[in-house]
């Protein structure tokens, strides 16, 4: 298991951009066959409420671009000073070229700049941070622009109760740079590729290209409709995976960093849903006030953008007045892949959640 620590690297700004179109589960009774009780149970147990989704014209790249522009505007950084762009997404504009190159062009960055995509979802933000820290610590670059965003709402079948009400969209931009005075940052990263089929879009890649057949939605045994081009999730397996692996990896990271859970100001988990988050918190015996979980109820599960949305949306004030500086970030999901980071977020030039404007 890769575990590592860095010093002299810091996060200096985070901006997340969300679409303005809001969907409420209360308006979707039809999806639940008119069963009010079932819908009420889902609201109460899983914590489903509302979510923000993009229209058909907007992509994750658009959301990330707006977040990046605002981040650059509000920070002291010049676009020419950015020497690497990492884009974490599973919903890129094209199968090629990568989003990072497209956005590099749209943002007008220097030619002396590396740009690459990372194909990860819910664990992707932490993986992206780890890569940025690794690149800077190695001496390879000074400033990394980490873009993490997804539009999973466009991959779900509207008639699949298992996923349609869960997912929202978002795009984020984070600036990571060298800093002599910064505190140590710790990471741990994991993969269990044997579970890859539990969260998957089967068609559209080289293994199963899109055809007329893959476009057809079929009803499953639970009465949900989806085509092989839609996202499939085995909810029970993902739940089992999350409550088994997440607490373990958090404990391991704290041990590695030689820090007590009490000394962490906030535990920012990937915003899967309130049920998973509270089960993880319960197993770790965490003070629930230290675990942001309103993000998912407001914006939906935003895949790679969920951790930055939780930071910008729920912790901006606490970070600004320095009542919270030590964060444990942890993402888990598609891959299966999971990763945790213990970061010191001292002086952010910007930490804001903004609405997308077309």
């Amino acid at each position: 298991m890769p575990k590592c620590r860095f010093s002299d690297v810091k996060i200096s700004g985070i901006v997340t951009c969300v679409p303005t179109l809001e969907k409420w589960i209360d308006d979707e009774l039809e999806l639940f066959g008119g069963k009010v009780k079932q819908l009420e149970r889902l609201k109460k147990t899983i914590g489903l409420h509302r979510r923000r989704v993009v229209d058909e014209q907007t992509t994750a790249a658009d959301l990330c671009e707006q977040a990046a522009r605002y981040l650059i505007e509000q920070s002291a950084v010049e676009p020419s000073q950015i020497d690497t762009v990492i884009c974490v997404t599973q919903t890129p504009d094209y199968s090629q070229p990568c989003n990072a190159a497209v956005l590099h062009g749209r943002l007008g960055l220097s030619k002396y700049c590396a740009a690459l995509d990372v194909n990860l979802g819910c664990s992707g933000y932490v993986y992206g941070l780890w890569m940025a820290h690794t690149m800077i610590a190695s001496g390879g670059c000074e400033r990394v622009l980490l873009l993490a965003g997804d539009t999973i709402s466009r991959l779900v079948n509207a008639r699949d109760r298992a996923v349609a009400p869960l997912f929202g969209d978002g795009g984020s931009a984070t600036l990571v740079e060298r800093s002599q005075s910064s505190a140590a940052t710790f990471f741990s990263l994991h993969t269990d590729g044997k579970g890859y089929e539990n969260l998957i879009v089967p068609a559209g890649g080289a293994r199963q290209p899109c055809t007329q057949v893959t476009a057809v939605a079929v009803e499953d045994e639970a009465g949900n409709f989806r085509s092989p081009e839609n996202l499939f999730m085995d909810g029970a397996e993902i739940f089992n995976f999350s409550i088994t692996e997440e607490p373990k990896s958090v404990i391991e990271l704290l041990k590695y960093a030689e820090i007590d859970a009490d000394a962490v100001d906030h535990f920012v988990f990937h915003q899967a849903n309130r049920y998973i988050l509270s089960n993880i918190a319960k197993r770790l015996k965490l003070d629930i006030a230290k675990v942001p979980m309103q993000t998912v109820e407001r914006y939906g599960n935003q895949s790679s953008a969920s951790i930055p949305t939780a930071i910008c949306g729920e912790l901006a004030t606490a970070l600004a007045d320095r009542s919270s500086t030590r964060l444990l970030l942890s993402g888990f999901g598609v891959g299966l892949s999971w990763a945790s980071a213990l970061v010191e977020v001292g002086d952010l030039a910007v930490c804001e959640l903004i609405d997308y404007t077309a």
Binding site: Q38, G235, E237, N240, T244
Partner: protein
Amino acid sequence: MELDTFIKNFEEAVEDVEVGSLSGNTVYRSLEHWDSLAVLTVIAMVDAEYDLRLKAKELKQIETLSELHALLESKQST
């Protein structure tokens, strides 16, 4: 693992099931409130109360609460 306690925990995990209404012979998958959410809440209950991993597939293969209880006991002893 007591069967009675397990049934009580099961009743509490599946919402809208009256406590005391189920027995070891209950075919839980025929319950009105048995759905994918109930699968999740039962898995979570088994995890929280007994520290055991129950798979959705296993819940689909078993018929009665007694059989489910027996499966968990066998998991506990391994």
